[in-house]
Amino acid sequence: MRNNAAVWAIVRNELRRRKLYLLWWSVGIIALVGLTVLAYGSVRDQAAELNKAFGSLSSSISSFVGTGDMFSPAGYLNSQLYFITLPILFILLSVTLSSSLLNKEESRHTLELLLARPVSRSGVLAAKAISGSIIVAILGAVTAITVALCALAVHIDIPIGYILLTSLAMLLFSGAFGALAFMLFAASQVTRRLAVVVAILVSFGGYILTSLAGMVHGLAWVAKLFPYHYYDPGAILTGKLSAGLVLYIAAIYIGAMVVATIGFRRRDIQ
């Protein structure tokens, strides 16, 4: 019971400390997402012509933007937001955030203040993971609500439920790389920079591999090892959520937390 109270005290403190961070990220997301979705109003009427013109582009280009249909409502949201832009934003957010949650406390030696109190290492780790998840979830909610409201404003004909589901999938997909960085820092004594670099390499390396897999025959099986292979926001916007993505994401979160907990409980605090 006492450990739980301490965990929530750490969570509250972390959220208090990151109020401004949360505010500025929210402002940035609202501006970026709002402007992108509202811009659909100016291309909607020429969607058919534009799709025809862009349809002549090679399949390699299509694979990099996630779709050959870039101007239908679902194609627009997919190509302009959910396939690259938002994942890049949220991968950077979750990787840098999750790697700093423990790193900041450890490098400034305030982690000792926490661990000198009757709170277990796994309790501290859980508190940090919960704090990071809440921050990312709030920003995910800001994103989803902004997309939904702006989509209504420019009459994008996609059910709100599908927009919310796609936002959730994007959030969980991007957050998985944050979980990877969190695990690397918590379980081992790699530097924060190295944890960030590895997580970013896996995410963007996976994106490039998945994009190239359609053109380079031998890469198809390698691409299956990376989460981007299972991430298809265009399909989710039409209500089709792949079981592979759900399983992959669940496996990464569970695996990352298990490894982080085991490693963090055993390693020396610097």
């Binding site: 301490a6 203040l113 926490l114 020396d268």
Partner: protein
């Protein structure tokens, strides 16, 4: 001490607050252990000073006791609970001050202490305002804007505010002005009076002498000696300045065991002597001594000598 420093075995004792048994910490890629078979025992209500040069292993011992780093071998218990297995239970009874006080820079003192109290509730809520008043700590300024001494005050307050049974303090007076150091010594006496044990590391002998019942000296990761202050005083050399009405009886004084002489002139001599003083007074009784002055016993010098000898033997 009921222990053999060389074998390093200490039997568990119900009255001991801190017991370490052959505690060893070896870091990867280093040939010498940072902590080498350290066995010690701190009794309930005892103030134990842990002295050593920088890098001797004081902080490593403390960080191991707090389970910030894990021992490579050996074990330790605080109030009978294992420092690794029962780490959370141990910390219910421990107050800790780190050598380099790290605080949350943007928090005010009040916010910081409230946060610490959330993590470990206070037994007596009136004690915190009392401590704040005694140390003259400013609760409204962000901690990052405070001087080293004022930050140290908050470090100390957070360590003692929940009135722990065991206090583990790493260089606690660092940065404190003399008035605050006095307040700190008072706090240690009070903690001792209510039965708390204090394990305090320092490289300042004078500070340790002020508050400790017993002193352990660590060198190159090894506990090289443990002494009570009384032991040290009894082994310390006594220094006298003697004035004779006639000439100094150099021949007789030189024959005294464990004595060394410095003559100033025909009538004055300074004599340092270890152990039994009877032979000296036997010599003096045969002469006309007009003045005898004893210099204060320098325990620090004695301890340093003992430390060097013990280290060389090891």
């Amino acid at each position: 001490m009921p222990q053999d420093l060389r074998s390093g075995i200490i039997k568990s004792d119900m009255t001991a607050s801190i017991v370490t048994n052959r505690l060893t910490k070896r870091y990867a890629h280093t040939s010498k252990p940072a902590l080498d078979n350290v066995s010690l025992k701190v009794e309930a209500g005892e103030v134990y000073g842990f002295l050593g040069a920088n890098g001797a292993g004081k902080s490593t011992t403390i960080r191991t006791l707090l389970n910030f780093i894990q021992p490579t071998s050996g074990s330790a218990q605080i109030l009978g609970e294992d420092i690794v297995r029962d780490s959370v239970a141990v910390k219910r009874h421990v107050g800790y001050l780190s050598g380099e006080v790290a605080l949350y820079e943007k928090m005010t003192g009040k916010q910081f202490l409230a946060y610490m109290a959330e993590l470990q509730p206070l037994k007596d809520k009136s004690y915190l305002p009392e401590l704040m008043k005694r140390f003259g700590a400013d609760p409204h300024k962000p901690l990052g804007e405070l001087s080293k001494g004022n930050r140290q005050k908050f470090g100390l307050i957070q360590a003692v505010m929940h009135q722990p049974e065991v206090l583990i303090l790493d260089e606690p007076t660092s940065g404190l002005d003399p008035l605050m150091q006095e307040e700190f010594f008072r706090l240690i006496r009070e903690s001792k009076e209510r039965g708390a044990s204090v394990f305090v590391s320092s490289h300042n002998f004078a500070e340790v002498q002020r508050m400790c019942d017993r002193i352990g000296f660590i060198r190159d990761g090894k506990l090289v000696s443990e002494q009570t202050l009384a032991d040290l005083a009894s082994k310390a050399s006594h220094t006298f300045t003697l004035t004779f009405a006639d000439s100094v009886p150099l021949h007789e004084l030189n024959r005294l065991p464990h004595a060394s002489l410095t003559t100033h002139d025909e009538h004055h001599v300074t004599l340092s002597m270890e152990g039994e003083l009877t032979p000296l007074f036997r010599v003096l009784s045969n002469h006309h001594v007009t003045r005898l002055e004893q210099q204060e016993v320098n325990l620090e010098q004695q301890f340093m000598r003992f430390y060097r000898e013990a280290g060389d033997e090891k």
